[in-house]
Subunit: 189 residues, 2 copies
Protein backbone atom coordinates (compact mmCIF):
# COMPACT_ATOMS: atom_id res chain seq x y z
CA UNK A 1 0.00 0.00 0.00
CA UNK A 2 2.60 2.47 1.08
CA UNK A 3 5.02 1.18 -1.52
CA UNK A 4 6.08 3.16 -4.55
CA UNK A 5 3.63 2.82 -7.42
CA UNK A 6 5.25 3.93 -10.66
CA UNK A 7 3.01 6.13 -12.82
CA UNK A 8 -0.07 5.22 -10.82
CA UNK A 9 -1.87 8.33 -12.11
CA UNK A 10 -1.41 7.27 -15.73
CA UNK A 11 -2.44 3.70 -15.00
CA UNK A 12 -5.53 4.89 -13.15
CA UNK A 13 -6.53 7.09 -16.09
CA UNK A 14 -6.07 4.25 -18.52
CA UNK A 15 -8.01 1.80 -16.34
CA UNK A 16 -10.81 4.30 -15.70
CA UNK A 17 -11.26 5.22 -19.37
CA UNK A 18 -11.25 1.57 -20.42
CA UNK A 19 -13.89 0.70 -17.80
CA UNK A 20 -16.07 3.74 -18.59
CA UNK A 21 -15.97 2.73 -22.25
CA UNK A 22 -16.73 -0.95 -21.54
CA UNK A 23 -19.48 -0.63 -18.91
CA UNK A 24 -20.51 2.99 -18.98
CA UNK A 25 -19.46 5.78 -16.66
CA UNK A 26 -22.31 5.36 -14.17
CA UNK A 27 -21.77 1.61 -13.87
CA UNK A 28 -18.08 1.87 -12.95
CA UNK A 29 -16.90 2.14 -9.32
CA UNK A 30 -13.69 3.61 -7.97
CA UNK A 31 -12.92 0.20 -6.44
CA UNK A 32 -13.01 -1.38 -9.91
CA UNK A 33 -10.78 1.31 -11.38
CA UNK A 34 -8.21 0.88 -8.60
CA UNK A 35 -8.29 -2.91 -8.94
CA UNK A 36 -7.72 -2.78 -12.68
CA UNK A 37 -4.86 -0.32 -12.26
CA UNK A 38 -3.36 -2.54 -9.55
CA UNK A 39 -3.45 0.14 -6.87
CA UNK A 40 -5.57 0.85 -3.80
CA UNK A 41 -8.67 3.05 -3.68
CA UNK A 42 -6.68 5.32 -1.43
CA UNK A 43 -4.19 5.84 -4.25
CA UNK A 44 -7.07 6.73 -6.60
CA UNK A 45 -8.19 9.44 -4.22
CA UNK A 46 -4.67 10.79 -3.91
CA UNK A 47 -4.84 11.58 -7.62
CA UNK A 48 -8.52 12.32 -8.29
CA UNK A 49 -11.34 13.78 -6.20
CA UNK A 50 -13.89 11.51 -7.90
CA UNK A 51 -14.67 9.47 -11.03
CA UNK A 52 -15.50 12.57 -13.02
CA UNK A 53 -12.18 14.24 -12.38
CA UNK A 54 -10.47 11.53 -14.42
CA UNK A 55 -12.32 13.01 -17.40
CA UNK A 56 -12.24 16.70 -16.52
CA UNK A 57 -9.06 17.16 -14.50
CA UNK A 58 -6.50 19.52 -15.96
CA UNK A 59 -9.10 21.85 -17.39
CA UNK A 60 -8.03 24.81 -15.22
CA UNK A 61 -4.48 24.51 -16.59
CA UNK A 62 -5.78 24.24 -20.14
CA UNK A 63 -7.95 27.31 -19.73
CA UNK A 64 -5.01 29.26 -18.40
CA UNK A 65 -2.88 28.21 -21.41
CA UNK A 66 -5.51 29.32 -23.90
CA UNK A 67 -6.02 32.66 -22.16
CA UNK A 68 -2.26 33.26 -21.91
CA UNK A 69 -1.92 32.51 -25.63
CA UNK A 70 -4.58 35.10 -26.43
CA UNK A 71 -3.19 37.67 -24.01
CA UNK A 72 0.41 37.29 -25.17
CA UNK A 73 -0.39 37.72 -28.87
CA UNK A 74 1.23 40.85 -30.34
CA UNK A 75 -0.76 44.02 -29.76
CA UNK A 76 -1.20 44.34 -33.52
CA UNK A 77 -2.80 40.88 -33.85
CA UNK A 78 -6.41 40.87 -35.05
CA UNK A 79 -8.99 39.06 -32.87
CA UNK A 80 -8.90 35.89 -34.97
CA UNK A 81 -5.10 35.84 -34.89
CA UNK A 82 -4.99 36.27 -31.11
CA UNK A 83 -7.49 33.42 -30.86
CA UNK A 84 -5.28 31.29 -33.11
CA UNK A 85 -2.39 31.77 -30.67
CA UNK A 86 -4.57 30.62 -27.80
CA UNK A 87 -5.62 27.55 -29.77
CA UNK A 88 -2.01 26.77 -30.65
CA UNK A 89 -1.18 26.76 -26.94
CA UNK A 90 -4.17 24.53 -26.15
CA UNK A 91 -3.40 22.13 -28.98
CA UNK A 92 0.26 21.90 -27.95
CA UNK A 93 -0.76 20.93 -24.42
CA UNK A 94 -3.52 18.49 -25.39
CA UNK A 95 -1.44 17.04 -28.21
CA UNK A 96 1.09 15.78 -25.69
CA UNK A 97 -1.50 13.36 -24.37
CA UNK A 98 -2.14 9.93 -25.81
CA UNK A 99 -4.40 9.92 -28.81
CA UNK A 100 -5.98 6.57 -27.91
CA UNK A 101 -6.92 7.84 -24.44
CA UNK A 102 -8.32 11.03 -25.91
CA UNK A 103 -10.44 8.90 -28.20
CA UNK A 104 -11.74 6.80 -25.31
CA UNK A 105 -12.56 9.99 -23.44
CA UNK A 106 -14.59 11.34 -26.39
CA UNK A 107 -16.48 8.04 -26.66
CA UNK A 108 -17.29 7.96 -22.96
CA UNK A 109 -18.53 11.55 -22.92
CA UNK A 110 -20.59 11.12 -26.08
CA UNK A 111 -22.39 8.16 -24.51
CA UNK A 112 -23.55 9.98 -21.36
CA UNK A 113 -25.91 13.01 -21.47
CA UNK A 114 -24.71 14.38 -18.11
CA UNK A 115 -21.07 14.18 -19.17
CA UNK A 116 -21.94 15.82 -22.49
CA UNK A 117 -23.59 18.71 -20.66
CA UNK A 118 -20.55 19.00 -18.40
CA UNK A 119 -18.22 19.08 -21.40
CA UNK A 120 -20.32 21.82 -23.02
CA UNK A 121 -20.27 23.78 -19.77
CA UNK A 122 -16.48 23.46 -19.65
CA UNK A 123 -16.13 24.78 -23.19
CA UNK A 124 -18.54 27.62 -22.40
CA UNK A 125 -16.37 28.48 -19.42
CA UNK A 126 -13.25 28.57 -21.61
CA UNK A 127 -15.13 30.71 -24.14
CA UNK A 128 -16.09 33.22 -21.44
CA UNK A 129 -12.44 33.44 -20.35
CA UNK A 130 -11.23 33.91 -23.93
CA UNK A 131 -13.83 36.56 -24.61
CA UNK A 132 -12.73 38.43 -21.44
CA UNK A 133 -9.10 38.21 -22.65
CA UNK A 134 -10.13 39.61 -26.03
CA UNK A 135 -12.00 42.49 -24.40
CA UNK A 136 -8.82 43.22 -22.43
CA UNK A 137 -7.14 43.56 -25.82
CA UNK A 138 -9.70 46.18 -26.79
CA UNK A 139 -12.02 43.95 -28.83
CA UNK A 140 -15.65 45.08 -28.44
CA UNK A 141 -18.83 43.06 -28.05
CA UNK A 142 -20.36 41.09 -29.70
CA UNK A 143 -17.10 40.47 -31.60
CA UNK A 144 -15.22 39.13 -28.57
CA UNK A 145 -17.91 36.57 -27.77
CA UNK A 146 -18.37 35.57 -31.41
CA UNK A 147 -14.65 34.93 -31.84
CA UNK A 148 -14.25 33.15 -28.49
CA UNK A 149 -17.20 30.83 -29.12
CA UNK A 150 -16.02 30.05 -32.64
CA UNK A 151 -12.62 29.23 -31.15
CA UNK A 152 -14.08 26.67 -28.77
CA UNK A 153 -15.92 25.08 -31.70
CA UNK A 154 -12.60 24.89 -33.55
CA UNK A 155 -10.99 23.24 -30.51
CA UNK A 156 -13.81 20.71 -30.13
CA UNK A 157 -13.89 19.77 -33.82
CA UNK A 158 -10.10 19.47 -33.94
CA UNK A 159 -9.97 17.21 -30.89
CA UNK A 160 -12.66 14.97 -32.36
CA UNK A 161 -10.83 14.78 -35.67
CA UNK A 162 -7.43 14.17 -34.07
CA UNK A 163 -8.67 11.41 -31.81
CA UNK A 164 -10.87 9.80 -34.48
CA UNK A 165 -7.91 7.78 -35.73
CA UNK A 166 -8.67 8.96 -39.29
CA UNK A 167 -6.11 11.75 -39.22
CA UNK A 168 -2.39 11.19 -38.63
CA UNK A 169 -1.43 14.83 -38.20
CA UNK A 170 -0.47 16.40 -34.89
CA UNK A 171 -3.32 18.14 -33.02
CA UNK A 172 -1.77 21.56 -33.54
CA UNK A 173 -1.85 21.04 -37.32
CA UNK A 174 -5.43 19.80 -37.27
CA UNK A 175 -6.41 22.87 -35.22
CA UNK A 176 -4.67 25.24 -37.62
CA UNK A 177 -6.45 23.63 -40.53
CA UNK A 178 -9.82 23.96 -38.77
CA UNK A 179 -9.05 27.64 -38.08
CA UNK A 180 -8.28 28.09 -41.78
CA UNK A 181 -11.64 26.51 -42.57
CA UNK A 182 -13.36 28.94 -40.23
CA UNK A 183 -11.75 31.87 -42.04
CA UNK A 184 -12.76 30.53 -45.44
CA UNK A 185 -16.35 29.65 -44.66
CA UNK A 186 -17.07 32.96 -42.94
CA UNK A 187 -15.34 35.00 -45.66
CA UNK A 188 -17.25 33.17 -48.39
CA UNK A 189 -19.94 35.47 -49.72
CA UNK B 1 -61.92 24.36 -11.48
CA UNK B 2 -63.78 23.28 -14.56
CA UNK B 3 -64.57 26.86 -15.54
CA UNK B 4 -63.04 28.63 -18.47
CA UNK B 5 -59.72 30.21 -17.55
CA UNK B 6 -58.77 32.83 -20.11
CA UNK B 7 -55.10 32.65 -21.17
CA UNK B 8 -54.17 30.41 -18.29
CA UNK B 9 -51.01 29.30 -20.12
CA UNK B 10 -49.77 32.88 -20.41
CA UNK B 11 -50.64 33.65 -16.79
CA UNK B 12 -48.87 30.51 -15.62
CA UNK B 13 -45.75 31.46 -17.54
CA UNK B 14 -45.77 34.93 -16.13
CA UNK B 15 -46.32 33.69 -12.58
CA UNK B 16 -43.66 30.98 -12.89
CA UNK B 17 -40.99 33.30 -14.29
CA UNK B 18 -41.70 35.92 -11.63
CA UNK B 19 -41.44 33.32 -8.86
CA UNK B 20 -38.29 31.73 -10.30
CA UNK B 21 -36.68 35.17 -10.43
CA UNK B 22 -37.81 36.11 -6.91
CA UNK B 23 -37.04 32.89 -5.03
CA UNK B 24 -34.94 30.81 -7.37
CA UNK B 25 -36.05 27.97 -9.62
CA UNK B 26 -35.38 25.18 -7.12
CA UNK B 27 -37.26 26.95 -4.34
CA UNK B 28 -40.47 27.38 -6.33
CA UNK B 29 -43.26 24.78 -6.29
CA UNK B 30 -45.94 24.11 -8.88
CA UNK B 31 -48.54 24.80 -6.19
CA UNK B 32 -47.14 28.31 -5.71
CA UNK B 33 -47.09 28.98 -9.43
CA UNK B 34 -50.70 27.86 -9.81
CA UNK B 35 -51.77 29.94 -6.82
CA UNK B 36 -50.13 33.09 -8.14
CA UNK B 37 -51.68 32.55 -11.57
CA UNK B 38 -55.08 32.01 -9.94
CA UNK B 39 -55.55 28.52 -11.40
CA UNK B 40 -55.35 24.98 -10.06
CA UNK B 41 -52.29 22.73 -10.12
CA UNK B 42 -54.25 20.55 -12.47
CA UNK B 43 -54.42 23.42 -14.93
CA UNK B 44 -50.64 23.85 -14.65
CA UNK B 45 -50.14 20.22 -15.63
CA UNK B 46 -52.54 20.58 -18.55
CA UNK B 47 -50.07 23.09 -20.01
CA UNK B 48 -46.65 21.97 -18.75
CA UNK B 49 -45.13 18.59 -17.87
CA UNK B 50 -43.07 20.16 -15.09
CA UNK B 51 -41.47 23.38 -13.80
CA UNK B 52 -38.68 23.18 -16.32
CA UNK B 53 -40.96 23.02 -19.32
CA UNK B 54 -42.10 26.58 -18.58
CA UNK B 55 -38.54 27.59 -19.49
CA UNK B 56 -37.79 25.13 -22.28
CA UNK B 57 -41.16 24.40 -23.88
CA UNK B 58 -41.46 25.32 -27.55
CA UNK B 59 -37.89 24.41 -28.35
CA UNK B 60 -38.87 21.63 -30.77
CA UNK B 61 -40.92 24.10 -32.81
CA UNK B 62 -38.09 26.64 -32.75
CA UNK B 63 -35.58 24.05 -33.94
CA UNK B 64 -37.86 23.09 -36.78
CA UNK B 65 -38.22 26.75 -37.82
CA UNK B 66 -34.45 27.29 -37.89
CA UNK B 67 -33.85 24.11 -39.87
CA UNK B 68 -36.63 24.95 -42.34
CA UNK B 69 -35.13 28.39 -42.83
CA UNK B 70 -31.75 26.85 -43.66
CA UNK B 71 -33.23 24.16 -45.87
CA UNK B 72 -35.48 26.54 -47.83
CA UNK B 73 -32.71 29.01 -48.64
CA UNK B 74 -32.05 29.24 -52.39
CA UNK B 75 -29.72 26.54 -53.70
CA UNK B 76 -27.24 29.26 -54.65
CA UNK B 77 -27.05 30.63 -51.08
CA UNK B 78 -23.65 30.32 -49.38
CA UNK B 79 -23.50 28.54 -46.00
CA UNK B 80 -23.54 31.78 -44.00
CA UNK B 81 -26.50 33.09 -46.02
CA UNK B 82 -28.48 29.88 -45.50
CA UNK B 83 -27.71 30.19 -41.79
CA UNK B 84 -28.92 33.80 -41.84
CA UNK B 85 -32.28 32.63 -43.22
CA UNK B 86 -32.58 30.11 -40.39
CA UNK B 87 -31.79 32.80 -37.85
CA UNK B 88 -34.34 35.15 -39.40
CA UNK B 89 -36.99 32.47 -38.94
CA UNK B 90 -35.94 31.87 -35.33
CA UNK B 91 -35.82 35.57 -34.52
CA UNK B 92 -39.25 36.12 -36.07
CA UNK B 93 -40.74 33.40 -33.87
CA UNK B 94 -38.96 34.41 -30.66
CA UNK B 95 -39.52 38.10 -31.31
CA UNK B 96 -43.28 37.59 -31.07
CA UNK B 97 -42.85 36.78 -27.38
CA UNK B 98 -42.80 39.38 -24.63
CA UNK B 99 -39.44 41.00 -24.13
CA UNK B 100 -39.89 41.34 -20.36
CA UNK B 101 -40.63 37.63 -20.01
CA UNK B 102 -37.64 36.74 -22.17
CA UNK B 103 -35.52 38.87 -19.88
CA UNK B 104 -36.84 37.13 -16.77
CA UNK B 105 -36.12 33.80 -18.42
CA UNK B 106 -32.50 34.79 -19.11
CA UNK B 107 -32.06 35.93 -15.52
CA UNK B 108 -33.48 32.73 -14.09
CA UNK B 109 -31.30 30.52 -16.29
CA UNK B 110 -28.15 32.53 -15.60
CA UNK B 111 -28.68 32.08 -11.85
CA UNK B 112 -28.88 28.26 -11.93
CA UNK B 113 -25.98 26.03 -13.09
CA UNK B 114 -28.26 23.12 -14.04
CA UNK B 115 -30.51 25.36 -16.11
CA UNK B 116 -27.46 26.92 -17.76
CA UNK B 117 -26.20 23.46 -18.74
CA UNK B 118 -29.64 22.58 -20.07
CA UNK B 119 -29.74 25.77 -22.14
CA UNK B 120 -26.31 25.00 -23.61
CA UNK B 121 -27.42 21.45 -24.41
CA UNK B 122 -30.49 22.86 -26.18
CA UNK B 123 -28.36 25.19 -28.29
CA UNK B 124 -25.96 22.32 -29.08
CA UNK B 125 -28.93 20.28 -30.21
CA UNK B 126 -30.08 23.10 -32.53
CA UNK B 127 -26.53 23.42 -33.84
CA UNK B 128 -26.39 19.71 -34.66
CA UNK B 129 -29.68 20.01 -36.57
CA UNK B 130 -28.49 23.09 -38.48
CA UNK B 131 -25.21 21.43 -39.35
CA UNK B 132 -27.11 18.38 -40.68
CA UNK B 133 -29.28 20.72 -42.77
CA UNK B 134 -26.16 22.40 -44.16
CA UNK B 135 -24.63 19.04 -45.07
CA UNK B 136 -27.85 18.24 -46.91
CA UNK B 137 -27.18 21.38 -48.91
CA UNK B 138 -23.76 19.99 -49.86
CA UNK B 139 -21.68 21.88 -47.29
CA UNK B 140 -18.74 19.75 -46.12
CA UNK B 141 -17.24 19.30 -42.67
CA UNK B 142 -15.86 21.01 -40.67
CA UNK B 143 -17.52 23.98 -42.41
CA UNK B 144 -21.08 22.86 -41.61
CA UNK B 145 -20.37 22.52 -37.89
CA UNK B 146 -18.37 25.76 -37.74
CA UNK B 147 -21.20 27.72 -39.36
CA UNK B 148 -23.95 26.03 -37.33
CA UNK B 149 -22.18 26.62 -34.01
CA UNK B 150 -21.45 30.24 -34.89
CA UNK B 151 -25.13 30.62 -35.72
CA UNK B 152 -26.21 29.44 -32.29
CA UNK B 153 -23.78 31.92 -30.72
CA UNK B 154 -25.36 34.67 -32.82
CA UNK B 155 -28.81 33.59 -31.63
CA UNK B 156 -27.77 33.50 -27.99
CA UNK B 157 -26.04 36.90 -28.08
CA UNK B 158 -28.95 38.47 -29.95
CA UNK B 159 -31.51 37.16 -27.47
CA UNK B 160 -29.46 38.48 -24.55
CA UNK B 161 -29.12 41.87 -26.21
CA UNK B 162 -32.78 42.08 -27.19
CA UNK B 163 -34.03 41.16 -23.74
CA UNK B 164 -31.48 43.30 -21.91
CA UNK B 165 -33.75 46.32 -22.20
CA UNK B 166 -30.85 48.36 -23.59
CA UNK B 167 -31.84 47.84 -27.21
CA UNK B 168 -35.18 48.95 -28.66
CA UNK B 169 -34.87 47.18 -31.98
CA UNK B 170 -36.85 44.11 -32.97
CA UNK B 171 -35.09 40.78 -32.35
CA UNK B 172 -34.79 40.08 -36.06
CA UNK B 173 -32.85 43.33 -36.52
CA UNK B 174 -30.58 42.63 -33.56
CA UNK B 175 -29.87 39.15 -34.99
CA UNK B 176 -29.07 40.56 -38.44
CA UNK B 177 -26.70 43.04 -36.89
CA UNK B 178 -24.96 40.28 -34.88
CA UNK B 179 -24.63 38.21 -38.09
CA UNK B 180 -23.05 41.24 -39.76
CA UNK B 181 -20.60 41.45 -36.85
CA UNK B 182 -19.70 37.79 -37.31
CA UNK B 183 -18.93 38.41 -40.97
CA UNK B 184 -16.79 41.43 -40.16
CA UNK B 185 -14.78 39.96 -37.32
CA UNK B 186 -14.00 36.74 -39.16
CA UNK B 187 -13.12 38.57 -42.40
CA UNK B 188 -10.83 40.98 -40.53
CA UNK B 189 -7.24 39.94 -41.20
Amino acid sequence: MGRWEPNSRGRLQEAALALYAERGFDQTTVAEIAARAGVTERTFFRHFADKREVLFGGSAVLKERIVTGVTDAPASARPLDALAQGLDAAAAMLGEGRRDLSRLRQTVIAANPELRERELAKLADYAAAVSAALRQRGVGEPQATLVADAGMTVLRISLEQWSSGKDDRELVDVARDTMANLRVVTADR
